[in-house]
Symmetry: C3
Subunit: 180 residues, 3 copies
């Protein structure tokens, strides 16, 4: 199987207990399906808001499954149980502050509570990990804000080559592979 | 006394020595008075730019007085004596990067030196701590940029319920209390 | 010699091996020459993407040469060899998050991959260190975004007084020297 795996991690106490259906994970899968025009396969996980469990899932998807891109949804707010950013920082070698900034700036045009999101992004080895909010509407908005830079980022860290449907979203790859 | 206490901390060597009058603290009180339509009481403090003293005041207002919201003014610039952000980071359990970003982005439309502000925000237990600049004009601008998200943030961390005068500022509370 | 020295550090494996010509350093010199109307002298360095070497150069320019302003170019991307931000954090006493935010926000209007830049800025003693990207076009854009605040920042940290050609770029100095 040569198609790249993309990790999609829903972080939610309630969804993981079956109290309600996971809407975030399927929304990420749907959005990626709409954008990507290369074969890929989703590796979906559902975890409660427990930092050690989230970290274990992220490590396994990066190092075990070999996902070049891992997207989390949920657990980025200010509530005491929201620990997805902390788990992300804990497993990453280096952080990418521009992702959280760009996503909050775009969301802020829709809702003033976008400032409450602590979502971040970082790199673990050859994997880019991006936190998205839990709400489906915010997921599409945030992915749209940063995805044009994701394929080039994966090129630079040795991840899989992603191509998108240009009618949906146009990615940007500088001509040279010199790093920005 | 059931009205919530809001901590207002002026950080200034000169104002605390009486060299000049504290303008920042009263400007925060005036702005909150203009915005809020629920009973509340200000708990005002005035401290010099000494990190241990600022930390002690923040801890006391959060844990002792039980302020769900604490606003500092002053000490956020690049000068060697400016240590309010460091004191804030030291007492918080988790940081809220979106507050500093949003306040700098708004201030940047007025003055290019907004980039010099190192103001941040974070959560200590059930208290939200927000740094504001020292200048009265910048105080109103920065509070206006983030206050629409503050009441919902306090809801999520177990703080007091704040309501605003919608003719002055409209707060945003998503319908569900699910965290962003 | 009383003119202030400005450190200009090109961080690039390839340029330092002579594989290609350093374009970033000369672009920074050209841009500063265009903006400044006071005498100054460039102190140029060229280092490979090795964190200890970059740190050593930054420390020498700040503490040895006494540069009040040090500008790096290159090494801010997500590639494994890009470590300029890490070196900058390691040598600084305090970080200036508003610089990276403002530069990414401006660059994002030109290229979506601006989000990939991890560039930051910080203060070491009396020296302000600013990371710029490696590409000449991005250098002018980023410098233009933050330079209006740089002279006032140097005033506040005890650095040299810089004046600019107002026809090229207008700097902003609040009337009082009270810190923001």
């Amino acid at each position: 199987m040569s198609e790249p795996a993309i990790g999609i991690v829903t972080v939610s106490d309630r969804a993981s207990r079956g109290v309600y259906r996971d809407l975030g994970g399927p929304a990420v899968v749907a959005e990626l399906t709409r954008m990507l025009c290369v074969p890929w396969r989703p590796e979906c996980r559902l975890v409660p808001d427990e930092q050690p469990l989230i970290e274990a899932v992220l490590r396994d998807l990066a190092d075990g499954v070999g996902c070049g891109l891992i997207i989390t949804t949920g657990g980025t707010g200010p509530a005491p149980r929201d620990v997805t950013p902390e788990a992300t920082v804990a497993v990453c070698d280096r952080m990418m502050p521009g992702f959280g900034e760009a996503m909050r700036a775009v969301s802020l045009r829709s809702v003033p509570t976008a400032s409450l999101s602590r979502q971040t992004a970082g790199i673990r080895g050859r994997s880019l990990i991006i936190n998205l909010p839990g709400k489906p509407a915010a997921i599409a908005e945030c992915l749209g804000a940063v995805f044009p830079a994701v394929p080039y980022c994966l090129d630079l860290i040795g991840g899989p080559r992603l191509e998108t449907d240009e009618a949906v979203i146009r990615v940007f790859r500088p001509k040279s592979l010199a790093s920005p």
